[in-house]
């Protein structure tokens, strides 16, 4: 009973945030709705017992990636969206299409997926156990993703620095 109430509350906040992201015209409002979605998803992870994943979701996703998004929106001074012909076509076709797809998926999952039940804290994800997995079985993906992040950092610095900063440095 408590599980259902908590799940519904945080699930409703998630869906409300996601719908708000679609409905808002200014990107800063969409970014803040996405932060709300991520925070309520962290609560959902806690309901399933994944405490470390929930903490990392808040620290990394809501606290770093979304800050980056908010930063870029502030920097580029993004204004409200305009309506063009492309967007009208997309509204007409996209919304009914995805609504249909979404309803079919939900019906199939609720009726036919015999997935069983989950209790509160179903699989406790202690940091110790996750660290054991991460550094023993998943060591290779771990190292590869660290190289991936290094490449991403270098790429982002090169792309965002722009072509003129190099020539300016040579002139000085």
């Amino acid at each position: 009973m408590l599980h259902l109430v908590l799940f519904s509350v945080f699930g409703a906040i998630c869906v409300a945030g996601a719908v708000n992201l679609l409905v808002q015209r200014h990107p800063i409002n969409s970014a803040l709705s996405l932060v709300v979605v991520m925070a309520s998803l962290a609560a959902e992870y806690l309901l399933l017992g994944a405490e470390f994943v929930a903490a990392v979701q808040v620290i990394v996703y809501a606290g770093a990636i979304m800050v980056l998004f908010v930063f870029v929106i502030m920097l580029l001074n993004a204004g409200e969206e305009e309506r063009t012909t492309g967007s009208h076509v997309a509204w007409l076709l996209g919304i009914p299409g995805m609504l249909t797809g979404g309803i079919i998926i939900c019906w199939a999952l609720l009726r036919h997926a015999n997935a069983g039940e989950a209790s509160i804290g179903a699989l406790p994800g202690h940091p110790n156990d996750i660290a054991q997995l991460l550094f023993h079985e998943f060591l290779l993906p771990f190292e590869v993703t660290s190289i991936l992040v290094l490449i991403a950092i270098m790429g982002a610095v090169v792309l965002a620095a722009g072509p003129d900063s190099e020539s300016k440095r040579r002139v000085e």
Binding site: I28, L32, V67, V70, F71, H126
Partner: protein, 345 residues
């Protein structure tokens, strides 16, 4: 303990802690004005009450009655929400901080902590990362050059120093083996060589991590020497230029609450928490750990204010270079050395 007793005890703890925290924030402002004043060879507040002790009350009344004007060109929803976000995130992290041992009143036994979560340190780090939003959004929503620049600079600075902050704490985590703040303090029990306490700063060798943490914390809380985003001579007042009265007071409260949280975490992780000589009658034995904890927090706040009165501020590019090119490699080196020492034992 039944559910009802648990809820009542928790509500009492929450009310008490929030009351103490808000009073501590007000009197930290008083302490800062006095100490900085004395360092600059002047008195500080002396008129309102003995030693100016009622000055925070006078300031509170002033902030409440000041005209709360909202400039017409701001983006209203975020303008009003940003200081609230800053204060909410600053005050929430006190929920996982333990102040002392378990106390027993009658037949109810409760820890001196609102809640003991086994990922307590991660929660504090998470709330610190979310605290960037209050600053960034206030700078942007004020719709003015100084605020936008101040907000951008402050958020970039806070995000950069968060990494060094987190990494400097991982050495302590390796030694303690748990994320729970109470567990970390319990891992610092006992003495070695007879009289030196087993704190992580001595026995664990985390003295370098302690200084990295302190420096990164000064940058996280936007205090001198890292307070360029809100410096008066540089950017008018940075991200809180367009704010007046209660909203400005909320930013102040958020900054000093962050200082207090940082001081609490430093004393828990590096200086052994509430450990100290315990003696005397029964009721004194319950109060003494709390007193030792408050003593450590007070020492930290004094060091914060001391540094503020002494050092000049960094230029922005010096600040960012220091964070990325010096603090981050040193904290990684500290982590590697600590891990090696623990693994080879």
């Amino acid at each position: 303990m039944s559910i009802l007793t648990f809820i009542i005890v928790s509500v009492i703890k929450i009310v008490l802690v929030i009351f103490v925290l808000l009073t501590a924030v007000a009197y930290t402002v008083w302490l800062e004005r006095k100490v900085v004043g004395r360092m600059q060879n002047r008195w500080g507040p002396t008129r309102v009450g003995p030693f100016g002790l009622l000055q925070p009350a006078a300031d509170g009344v002033k902030f409440l009655f000041k005209e709360d004007l909202t400039p017409p060109h701001v983006y209203k929803p975020l303008y009003i929400a940003a200081p609230m976000l800053a204060v909410i995130f600053a005050i929430t992290s006190i929920a996982v901080i333990p102040f002392g041992n378990w106390v027993t009143v009658g037949n109810i036994s409760t820890p001196l902590q609102i809640t003991d979560v086994n990922i307590g340190l991660l929660i504090v780090l998470g709330i610190t990362s979310l605290g960037v939003y209050g600053v960034a959004l206030s700078g942007w929503s004020s719709n003015s050059k100084y605020s936008l620049l101040g907000g951008l600079r402050a958020s970039a600075q806070m995000v950069s120093y968060e990494i060094a902050l987190g990494l400097s704490l991982v050495g302590v985590l390796i030694l303690a083996g748990t994320f729970s703040l109470r567990g970390i303090v319990d891992a610092q029990a006992g003495h070695f060589w007879g009289f030196i306490p087993n704190w992580f700063i001595f026995r664990g060798g985390q003295i370098v991590a302690f200084f990295i943490y302190l420096t990164a914390a000064y940058a996280e809380t936007n205090r001198i020497p890292f307070d360029l985003p809100e410096a008066e001579t540089e950017l008018v007042a940075g991200y809180h230029t367009e704010y007046s009265a209660m909203k400005f007071a909320m930013f102040f409260m958020a900054e000093y609450s962050n200082m207090i949280t940082v001081a609490c975490i430093a004393s828990l992780l590096f200086l052994g928490g509430w450990r100290g000589p315990v003696f005397g009658p029964f009721w004194l034995q319950e109060i003494l750990p709390l007193f030792w904890f408050m003593l450590r927090v007070f020492v930290f706040l004094f060091i914060y204010i001391w540094v503020r009165g002494t050092l000049p501020r960094f230029r922005y590019d010096q600040l960012m270079a220091f964070g990325w090119k010096f603090l981050l490699p040193v904290s990684i080196a500290n982590l590697v050395i600590t891990a090696l020492v623990v693994a080879l034992k």
